[in-house]
């Protein structure tokens, strides 16, 4: 296995095509994401294809150094990057990050995306740990699933859905970000581009049986993200669950706090056997919408209890 290298980002102020780099937003195994401004001063997020196991950019350099023996793999990964760009370019959905431009420079390629203001669902969860309401979960995920349905319709799997990849715009509308894992993860045996999975959110088949991946793989991650909203943190990782499943079903854990129906849907998404999960986003949406009207609404008694709690806290 190649030793892990760290790539140096392009410096602030760097003029990249018609964009000026402001700062680095994130650094992943396959790419660097920058905040930049175009000539009109509009902020954009630019993703630079730069797999750190194949291409190394030293401090102060612009073009990465790519060893000859890695050139094939580097180009292959570039193809995956194109796949991501191509799929996203065909998607115009308010709940999926929008691609604005695509260009080649510095011996690699760049994808320009709309820059979203707001915060990630993960930040939101941390801030409101244990206090996230059912309506919030339903609203965020109902809209997010609309976007994911479009993604799947383009024959693309996201494969890295997690609260930190779900962005909440300031108006509360969620946006699905970072499709970097999407195609790369379909290749598992090349040592150069290892699949990435995020423990807690990756489905068991991502570890064990990548040929079994399908919409249900993203659905596991959606369930785990909902679970994380309720729990305030990531659930037990799927590979650990396969060894010894210590994940407490949502239906048991929060029976007094959320509607049974929501909890059952969360548990259904997180079933270890992929064949037993909702097969498509559509099925999941239908399950979420079903009997929505009987969702537990606070009665006067609950309200009384709430008021009492408030009184007691004071």
């Amino acid at each position: 296995m190649p030793t892990q290298q760290t790539n140096h980002p392009l410096p602030p102020g760097f003029q990249l095509d018609r964009y000026r780099i402001e700062r680095q937003l994130s650094l992943g195994g396959f790419s660097i994401v920058y905040l930049a401004y175009d000539e009109d001063g509009t902020p954009v997020a630019i993703k630079e294809y730069l797999p750190n196991s194949l291409a190394l950019r030293a401090d102060g350099q612009v073009a990465p150094a790519i060893a000859d023996e890695h050139l094939g793999a580097f180009r292959h990964g570039m193809k995956c990057f194109f796949e991501e760009g191509r799929a996203l370019a065909h998607l115009s959905h308010p709940n999926v990050v929008r691609v604005l431009n695509f260009f080649r420079a510095n011996e690699t390629v760049y994808m320009v995306m709309q820059y979203e203001r707001g915060r990630t669902l993960q930040e939101h969860i941390h801030k409101h740990r244990g206090e996230i309401r059912e309506t919030f979960v339903r609203n965020v995920f109902a809209r997010l699933l609309n976007g994911l349905r479009e993604v799947h319709a383009q024959k693309l799997l996201h494969l890295d859905i997690k609260p930190s990849n779900i962005y909440l715009r300031t108006d509360g509308n969620p946006v699905l970000l970072d499709f970097g894992a999407a195609r790369q993860a379909l290749r598992t045996d090349g040592p150069m581009l290892k699949p990435m999975y995020t423990p807690g959110f990756a489905a068991p088949e991502q570890y064990k049986a990548p040929e079994d991946m399908g919409p249900w793989t993203d659905i596991y991650a959606v369930g785990a993200s909902m679970y994380a909203c309720l729990a305030g943190g990531a659930p037990q990782a799927a590979d650990k669950r396969l060894e010894r499943d210590a994940l407490q079903p949502a239906e048991k854990r929060w029976a007094d706090k959320y509607s049974k129906q929501l909890l059952q849907v969360v548990d259904w998404c997180m079933v270890l056997d992929s064949a037993q999960r909702p097969a498509s986003v559509f099925v999941l949406q239908r399950a979420l919408a079903e009997r929505h009207h009987v969702v537990h609404e606070p009665s006067w008694l609950d309200n009384l209890g709430q008021s009492l709690k408030v009184l007691l806290r004071k």
């Binding site: 193809k79 194109f82 370019a89 431009n101 390629v109 319709a153 399908g214």
Partner: protein, 304 residues
């Protein structure tokens, strides 16, 4: 030989068509073949293309104009197609061999022979009923066979797309062969990909073909399948033939009469080959420019 044949392949709602179909006949024998490249795997369409191309070339070599042993022909054809896919993967240094399902059928001397791998199907329709059909090599078919779920439930089962046998891939293929099956005049054989049978279901398929000729009904049934499949519609492909051993057939239908063909002549019709450029894994500078131009084009088109 006298028969009416129709074939069509549609993309559905997908970005590319990984289905490949062809039929091919000599004076004495007819070959129909369909391969459905496996989407999750790289180059699924290449695997499908290699398979269909290999089988039709194999047919042209062997059917002169008679095939000595149709089942042996199918067996060696599919096994060699599998090897050709692996060779392709090795040549291009692909870490994972591309995969495809396949169903192929030979008709000769009023007898039908077929072989399949995966979940592409063959239906033999007789007297407005399914006389016989292939069993999918899929987990759900196993569950149906074990009585765990019904056929109807299988159509909607989440694992319905998962097949355990294919051409290409690491394991040598498990090919399933039919018996030698005598055909009667009016029998219809339909080979199709799961994008066709899955949304449609057996019942609609049988009733559809009972209403008219394969030429008229195949496009209509494909329309129906696409409607039912909705926005997730997979590629769908069909090759359908009606066997007409007698001469009472409607003279207005486009019946193919092979009796007048010279002994070494073959007619081959393949679909989708223009779109099916074998893509090289080596990405050249031109490829990069083209990919970027294509993405920019899509951005402009979809941002409006």
């Amino acid at each position: 030989m006298k028969f009416t044949i129709y074939q069509e392949s549609r993309i559905g709602q997908r970005r590319n068509n990984q289905d490949r179909i062809a039929h091919c006949y000599s004076r004495d024998a007819l070959l129909m073949v369909l391969a459905d490249g496996m989407g999750g795997h790289l180059h699924g369409e290449v695997a499908a293309q290699i398979t269909v191309q290999y089988l039709t070339e194999h047919f042209q070599r062997e059917a002169r104009p008679h095939l000595d042993d149709p089942l042996q022909f199918l067996g060696s054809g599919l096994a060699n197609a599998h090897n050709a896919i692996l060779d392709y993967a090795v040549e291009r240094d692909l870490p994972d061999a591309p995969r495809t399902t396949c169903v192929a059928c030979i008709i000769q001397d009023n007898l039908a022979y077929w072989a399949h791998v995966g979940d592409s199907r063959l239906y033999l329709l007789r007297d407005r009923r399914i006389h016989t059909r292939t069993r999918d090599h899929s987990r759900v078919q196993m569950m149906v066979d074990d009585g765990l779920i019904t056929e109807e439930q299988a159509l909607h089962h989440p694992a319905r797309n998962r097949v355990y046998a294919c051409l290409g891939g690491d394991l040598s293929p498990q090919i399933e062969f039919s018996r030698k099956t005598p055909l009667l005049a009016g029998d219809t054989i339909v080979i199709c990909s799961d994008g066709f049978w899955s949304p449609l279901g057996n019942e609609a398929l049988v009733q559809g073909y009972a209403r008219g000729s394969v030429m008229a009904m195949t496009p209509q049934l494909m329309d129906t399948a696409e409607k039912l499949g909705g926005e997730g519609q997979d590629n769908l492909s069909v090759v359908a033939v009606t066997w007409e051993d007698d001469y009472s057939g409607d003279p207005t239908t486009m019946t193919i009469e092979t009796q007048t063909m010279p002994l070494n002549a073959h007619t081959t019709l393949m679909e989708g080959f223009d779109k099916a450029r074998l893509r090289d894994t080596e990405l050249t500078d031109d490829d990069i420019e083209r990919a970027i131009a294509e993405i920019r084009n899509a951005i402009n088109k979809f941002s409006k």
